[in-house]
Symmetry: C2
Subunit: 206 residues, 2 copies
Amino acid sequence: MSRIRARNEEKIIRAASRVFAEHGYAATKTADIAELAQLPKPNIYYYFGSKENLYRAVLESVTEPLLAASEPFEQHADPVIALTAYIRTKLMISRDYPYASKVFASEIMHGAPRLPEDIIARLSEQTRTLSDKLSQWMGQGLMEQLEPRHLLFAIWASTQTYADFNWQITMALGKEELDDTDYDQAAEVITRLVIEGCRVRPLSSL
Amino acid sequence: MSRIRARNEEKIIRAASRVFAEHGYAATKTADIAELAQLPKPNIYYYFGSKENLYRAVLESVTEPLLAASEPFEQHADPVIALTAYIRTKLMISRDYPYASKVFASEIMHGAPRLPEDIIARLSEQTRTLSDKLSQWMGQGLMEQLEPRHLLFAIWASTQTYADFNWQITMALGKEELDDTDYDQAAEVITRLVIEGCRVRPLSSL
DNA sequence: GTCTATATACAGATAGAC
DNA sequence: GTCTATCTGTATATAGAC
């Protein structure tokens, strides 16, 4: 793998993430990706073979930040701290990786027809890990007994909505784009819903 | 407007809602809509003129159920009852009108490039009405003081996710499709988050 | 008013020069 | 290894028969 190749592949992936996120897979023209990447169109086919291959490469590349969100669950044993940090991290990912979030959202909304099996497996495993942790806390009396997966769905949806449905959010808030204050307010509301709503208590209360 | 015309237009709209929801605007072929509607393809162009016109007609037709969700806010003065009913209604809409929800979600995710101005206006007005009502309850001390629009975003996201990201939900729950029990559990979790999380109190507590 | 057969345009992909 | 010029399939849209 040459220097120039690595550099061009990265430029293409970056440009493709954005165009796929903004227009969706089918509406995306490889010519637009090439233009944004400032490379001739055939380069894309030379490096990736086909539009679909490139799209799969994009899906792989955007998976990391999304999976990394669960770190707070591994780092903190205390449910109040872990859940608070998790919500904040999920919101920061929506802010910093909006293309990753949208490409995934679009893919999943249409039934994940092009999502590689290994990514599905990793997402499933993460879901299991997270819901097991929640069940454990519930069993210890550190939070109310609820179906943990529905709680996860609520957290995922209400944090990712700031990336996926950014248009609606900015419109409703009457802004061009969101600033740090908006994300702080979002974190405050969602954290309150989860912590107070599930009566989550710190480890020290045991 | 002839009988046969009205009937065919409705068949086309219904088929189009489904195909647009499942594949997105760009990936949808008018031939697939025609096949599902059991009509010849040129009929679509005869009745609607273009794929884009048909899509706009679909957007108009799916707007009603989505706007109707706010009825509980008008019917019930009590915040506990109104919010509980609102969450339930939103979930039932996700269950009963999944195509409407997905077509809208896809449109908004890509920046609403084809959403008619009048629909935007009606959605904006509803947002204002709902957040005003929440502010009023907060002012009366019937619930915690929070940015009401962020609370709305959380409710919208966590209820619509059951339609928009149905694939992920069913996969996480290990099911082919959701049943009434799943929606009951979802309602229980989301209602608890909102009512307990915002410390919403009934009118009678005043 | 309705539908079969066809034109047209666009975008994914590649052959071949450099 | 890289890119210009071109091919080709596919899907929107319509002309014209019934």
